[in-house]
């Protein structure tokens, strides 16, 4: 086997076209990654316009904007209130220009305990949502469901602090209570802020879905909730956390005490991790890797030709005479070209990920933070994507034997689905295709995190893939194994 790999490696390295082609593939990835494509953010062009997002207690960038009606709480204590009603406004549809009435599915009204009023500080909250029932959320990324219940129905809520533990309870009638859950906020100081809050997130919706065009529209929403039976009764102050995050903040973020323990509060914003896409902002580190598509085409063409060239020249007869165990020849070819492509992918991605982010930030674009582990996964994932696709191409080359047919089939199976998903297919069809096509492995480059509790259109175009990195890689590997096994069977049975 070692001799075989050495033989195949010699064949590869002595054809200048292939070596140069692979190098060009890597250069393309780097060049497209460092192109000053995206410029400016937060509605302003050029450098110095970067959005600055607050960072949550667990290191994620977060949105933290809501109307908070609160009082300080020293030591242990609790607050109880009934959310009597929830109403709201949604952004206008594509064909009208007036706000529509309606509560956003993830509009939130409830009780909140927070470490001060600075954005991004630790908190725990129990809330009634527009369409997702009662939830217990804390520190931006954790979300626990309570009882669902019909939207719009009144609900009693209670939040109790015991040292660092926060317990949330809910009730339909104010007498029988069920516990939603208990969370621990490590390092919570003696004095915290406790009170009522209302917020309503950025809304995004698909306007039409068709091949060739996908329209989405959206904008800020607002919600108004009436709280009654607020106990203990006491003087509460209103603070708008997050400042005027959007155009409705000034006019709509407010509160009114309409009776003893009765408050009407209006808020807009979100208390959640920050996301990209239609309802979010900014670019991700994956955006710098858009040249992977170009590199992939190079790798596919060379890998296919690595096999078909032997058929064209009759070299295959020599190869198979030298090594009569034909399956092994195929494995050696796949190993050599796969390893070369892997190395090209890893090197190019490493350069792009380290330098590309800097280029984007220098342009003033906002780039979502990614952990070192995510960066490493994206870099290695790019290598795996190229390497395994190269092996798939080797299999297709050995199956089809004729260069033109094999290259076309290889490009149509590996690159075309990705192109169709990114440019013409409607999102539902695109997500379906990205579950079964070899292009599913592009999910290994995803760096943004999809949160169930954040309303957004999580689309492949914005860097959200339907499969997890591991599952996406497995789909591609499945294709490669299938192609190689089929090729090995045919290679053994067919005349050379």
């Amino acid at each position: 086997m070692r001799a075989l790999i050495q033989a195949e490696w010699t064949k590869f390295r002595t054809v200048p076209g292939w070596v140069i082609g692979m190098a060009i593939g890597g250069v393309l990835i780097v060049a497209f990654g460092l192109l000053p494509g995206i410029q400016g953010s937060c509605g302003q062009p050029g450098s110095g316009s970067e959005c600055v997002l607050p960072v949550g207690p667990e290191g994620q960038e977060v949105s933290d904007g809501f109307m908070f009606v609160h009082r300080p709480l020293s030591g242990d204590g609790s607050i109880t209130a009934r959310v009597a009603s929830m109403t709201g406004m949604l952004p206008p549809g594509p064909n009208d220009d007036k706000m529509r009435e309606g509560v956003a599915p993830w509009a939130k009204a409830g009780l909140l305990i927070k470490d001060g009023t600075t954005q991004g500080s630790a908190y725990a909250a129990v809330m009634l949502t527009g369409a997702h029932g009662v939830r217990l959320q804390h520190n931006f990324v954790h979300d626990k469901a309570g009882k669902p219940g019909p939207p719009g129905s009144a609900r009693w809520l209670r939040l109790t602090r015991t040292k660092e533990k926060i317990t949330a309870e809910e009730s339909a009638d104010g007498t029988t209570w069920t516990t939603v859950g208990t969370v621990t906020l490590a390092g919570l100081p003696q004095t915290v802020q406790i009170g009522l809050f209302v917020t309503s997130p950025q809304h995004a919706e698909g306007a039409n879905e068709s091949l060739g065009s996908f329209g989405s529209y959206g904008g800020p929403t607002m919600a108004t909730a009436v709280f009654d039976h607020v106990t203990p009764v006491g003087s509460l102050t209103g603070t708008r956390i997050g400042g005027p995050a959007n155009k409705y903040a000034d006019e709509l973020g407010g509160f009114e005490e309409t009776g003893e323990g009765v408050f009407t509060i209006t808020g807009t914003g979100d208390i959640a991790p920050a996301v990209g896409g239609p309802a979010g902002i900014g670019a991700s580190i994956s955006d710098t890797l858009l040249g992977t598509f170009a590199g992939l085409i190079m790798v596919v063409v060379i890998s296919t030709m690595f096999v078909t060239a032997e058929y064209r020249r009759g070299m295959m007869r020599t190869t198979l005479a030298a090594s009569p165990r034909r399956g092994r020849v195929l494995v050696a070819k796949a190993a050599v070209v796969g390893a070369v492509s892997f190395v090209v992918g890893v090197l190019a991605a490493a350069v792009v990920i380290t330098l590309g982010q800097k280029v984007l930030r220098d342009n003033g674009a906002y780039v979502h933070l990614a952990s070192t582990a995510t960066e490493l996964r994206v870099i290695v994932g790019t290598g795996v994507l190229l390497g395994v696709t190269a092996m798939l191409a080797v299999g297709l080359g050995a199956l089809l034997r004729r260069g033109t047919t094999a290259v076309t089939v290889a490009i149509v199976t590996t690159a075309l689905p990705y192109l169709l998903v990114m440019s013409v297919l409607p999102p539902t069809a695109g997500q379906w295709l990205l579950r079964i096509a070899p292009a599913a492995a592009f999910s290994m480059q995803q760096s943004l995190v999809e949160y169930e509790q954040v309303a957004n259109l999580y689309l492949p175009v914005d860097g959200y893939f339907p499969l997890s990195p591991l599952a996406g890689g497995a789909v591609l590997a499945g294709w490669a194994v299938a192609a190689l096994v089929a090729a090995a069977c045919f290679l053994r049975r067919r005349d050379a």
Binding site: G17, F32, L35, G37, I38, Q39, G40, G93, P94, N95, G206, A207, N208, E209, S210, L211, G212, S213, G215, A283, D287, L290, F293, A294, I297, M298, V300, V301, T304, M305, T308, A309, R312, G403, T404, A406, V407, T408, I411, V412, A415, L416, Y418, L419, M422, S423, V424, P426, A429, V461
Partner: protein
């Protein structure tokens, strides 16, 4: 010249793959176009799709098949060594390439006319079923989209012929052509900066050329329809000239 044309026509006519590839151009174009229209739904009633562009979506796949045919016209000869006989018989190499270009254009115009007509006919009832605006041939825009798509497919085939002449290897040539075509739309999509998006769309042979299919929002296009097709024509002529220059100067 007549002799060269005749010999090229005979070679193309008698290659076993030609008729299948031409059929595949028609089938791929019509099938994808029909699927595109069938899969289009509009919420909110008034949906803003361009019916001509939608009904001719299949051109995006049909062009790959047209490119294969064009690549094989010259690449196949290099694969078998036939090109030496061809060049011995017609020593003026430029004439050989011109003859090939004429023959390829002729068959692709015929096949793509059938493909475009088939797409428009097949999508007519589907457009009505899905409540999309109908395409009327009285409208200048629709005629331009239909005629333009035929010219588009022909120009893509000529581009592929030029690339294959320069590369001399079918597999590498088809890889280069498909890369050239598909790269620009994906880059334009991935770059979120609007200035760069428009720039890439104007420059790419596929993105610029396909603006000929637009019948709505013409003022918002990065490049006007006929100008866009002109960009593709420049690519095609450029590739043919480069291929021709190499063919004349190089050893066979």
């Amino acid at each position: 010249m007549i002799g060269a044309l005749r010999s090229e026509w005979t070679k193309l006519r008698t290659s076993p793959g030609t008729i299948w590839l031409l059929l595949a151009v028609v089938v791929a174009t019509v099938a994808v176009s029909a699927a595109a229209v069938a899969g289009t739904t509009c919420r909110w009633g008034g949906c803003d799709v361009d019916p001509a562009r939608l009904a001719l979506t299949g051109v995006q796949l049909g062009q790959a098949v047209a490119a294969i045919l064009a690549v094989l016209v010259i690449g196949g000869e290099y694969g078998t060594g036939m090109h030496r006989i061809t060049l011995t018989a017609v020593p003026r190499r430029g004439v050989v390439l011109v003859a090939k270009a004429v023959v390829v254009s002729a068959v692709i115009v015929a096949a793509s006319a059938a493909a475009v007509a088939g797409s428009l006919l097949a999508t007519r009832p589907l457009l009505r079923r899905n409540g999309l605006p109908a395409l009327s041939m009285d409208d200048g825009g629709a005629v331009r989209a239909a005629v333009g798509s035929v010219l588009y497919l022909t120009l893509v085939a000529l581009l592929a012929l030029g690339v294959a002449t320069a590369v001399r290897h079918s597999a590498a040539a088809i890889g280069a052509v498909l890369g050239l075509l598909y790269l620009f739309p994906i880059m334009a999509q991935a770059v979120s900066d609007e200035k760069w998006q428009r720039y890439l769309t104007k420059l790419g042979p596929m993105t610029a050329g396909l603006t000929i299919q637009a019948t709505k929002h013409l003022t918002e296009l990065p490049i006007a329809p006929w100008k866009g097709l002109g960009v593709l024509a420049v690519w095609s002529v450029g590739c043919l000239l480069a291929g021709g220059a190499l063919l004349v100067r190089r050893d066979a």
